[in-house]
């Protein structure tokens, strides 16, 4: 037993074990979320959804993967091949890499970076690069329009996203996600979503915009620019872009949970499962993911000017005001 532990402690093994675990998580999350998305939409529309492959249609994602693997990847003749093919990679990296710094249960984190929050902010903005690469590399009018909208939207909502994290950092006094979770305590009223409610709402909305979900899906806009930046993608390249989208949606839910909803902390002290606290993390993340899907099938798409107004004229001033409120409260109430 001890030798096994020593072997696991050895860095190269740990690297590959954790890499495999993260990749397994991301790919399965993408597959499960595509399925959940279709089922949720079906039940919201009073339909059954996919129910032919396997019991209750649960093997549908596997069938989709096989289908997409055997489909031809059609590339437009005048496209920039390397930029075109690099886009799925640039979109997949941020969706998978940030999982490294998220604590799943008390001791399970791949790399406890002391700048975890900054790492998250920095890496997620690579996603904008992926969108622009996809749109520019395709050399299609629809794609370029989608990419420009995507870039404008992502960088506009990056500002409230970054500013809304300041309250959490001030209360914790650290940028490490492990510290943030530890500081929130194992009772649900000490989690940061209560003292930081406006910041939490801002982060949630900005996160929704960052992962390009309805009502912020203007870069895709299937009813006006027929798929936007990914209109030229087909087969496996398209599947990878979709997987990256779903994985980043899962990632955004996980970050929401980690920063504002207590991460792996149980809602009440007697529900503490020790190393199995990842159950709480999973449950809370699944709940946030479900609200993302619920919103998608309930709200219409925003217009571009409404999108920009919401970002710059509502969310940014709100975060700045709450920054003052938090700073003032910390000054007045000592020992916070």
């Amino acid at each position: 037993m001890q030798t096994v532990l020593n072997l696991l402690e050895a860095e190269p093994i740990r690297l590959f074990v954790s890499f495999g675990a993260v990749l397994f998580l991301v790919l399965n999350l993408a597959a499960i979320l595509t399925m959940a998305e279709r089922k949720a939409s079906a039940y919201i529309h009073l339909r059954y959804g996919p129910n032919r492959v396997g019991p209750r249609g649960l093997l549908q994602p596997a069938a989709d993967v096989v289908k997409l693997f055997t489909k031809e990847n059609v590339m437009p003749g005048r496209s920039d091949m390397w930029v075109f093919l690099g886009a799925p990679i640039a979109m997949f990296i941020p969706a998978a890499l940030v999982w490294m710094v998220i604590p799943f249960s008390p001791d399970a984190v791949v790399a406890n970076l002391n700048v975890g929050i900054l790492f998250f902010v920095a890496i997620t903005s690579i996603g904008a690069l992926g969108v622009v690469m996809a749109g520019y590399g395709s050399r299609s009018t629809f794609s370029l329009l989608g990419a420009l909208r995507g870039a404008a939207q992502i960088i506009s909502y990056e500002v409230p996203l970054i500013l809304s994290l300041l309250g959490v950092i001030m209360l914790t006094g650290s940028l490490s996600l492990v510290e943030v979770v530890n500081a929130q305590g194992s009772t649900f009223w000490t989690w940061y979503f209560l003292p930081q409610l406006p910041m939490f709402l801002t982060f949630y909305i900005a996160g929704l915009a960052e992962v390009k979900r309805v009502p912020f899906d203007l870069p895709e806009g299937e009813s006006e620019i027929v798929g936007g930046f990914m209109v030229e993608y087909s087969g496996m390249t398209w599947a990878l872009i979709q997987a990256a989208e779903f994985a980043s949606m899962g990632l955004m839910s996980a970050i929401n949970v980690t920063l504002f909803l207590g991460g792996w902390q149980p809602p009440l002290p007697f529900l503490d499962f020790g190393p199995f606290n990842w159950v709480w993390f999973g449950l809370k993340t699944a709940l946030i993911m479900f609200t993302f899907q619920w919103i998608r099938w309930s709200l219409p798409r925003l217009r571009m000017d409404q999108l920009m107004d919401l970002g710059w004229k509502v969310l940014v001033p709100m975060t700045l005001v709450w920054l003052f409120v938090t700073a003032g409260a910390m000054l007045v109430i000592p020992g916070n």
Partner: protein, 129 residues
């Protein structure tokens, strides 16, 4: 069971090396999937297939041309606020120890930037036309 993922006694630089290797591995994985899909899937090219998709019309324009300056204004605004955030982050980390001094400093700093935002707002830079 989570031992494989436990945070070992890694040194500071080691962690970043880790992140770098991770990034390369993920990029390698995606590239491998693309190559595999290329090997498995059929491929035949034709002139019609290589055309850019424009809802069935034949393409007349090249999208690689100047686009509205509107996007540039927002990029500029983003840059200003991103730099602001870069200054606020270290401040927020140590705020608990700074007390009143830190509060006043932040009020002055954010006020100046808020004036900038208000100016951009009044000038109509935030308006999407």
């Amino acid at each position: 069971m989570t031992l494989g993922l436990l945070q070992g006694g890694s040194s500071y630089g080691m962690l970043y090396l880790y992140v770098g290797i991770f990034m390369l591995l993920i990029a390698g994985f995606v590239a491998t999937v693309l190559v595999l899909a290329r090997l498995i899937s059929p491929s035949s090219s034709s002139k019609a297939k290589a055309q850019t998709y424009e809802t069935g019309e034949s393409t007349v324009t090249d999208p690689w041309r100047p686009f509205p300056v509107r996007y540039y204004v927002f990029a500029l605004l983003f840059l200003i606020f991103d730099v602001e955030a870069a200054f606020l982050y270290p401040w927020a980390v140590v705020y608990g120890d700074l007390g009143l001094y830190g509060f006043v400093e932040m009020v002055i700093f954010v006020s100046i930037l808020s004036v900038g935002l208000a100016y951009a707002w009044k000038k109509g830079a935030l308006k999407w036309v």
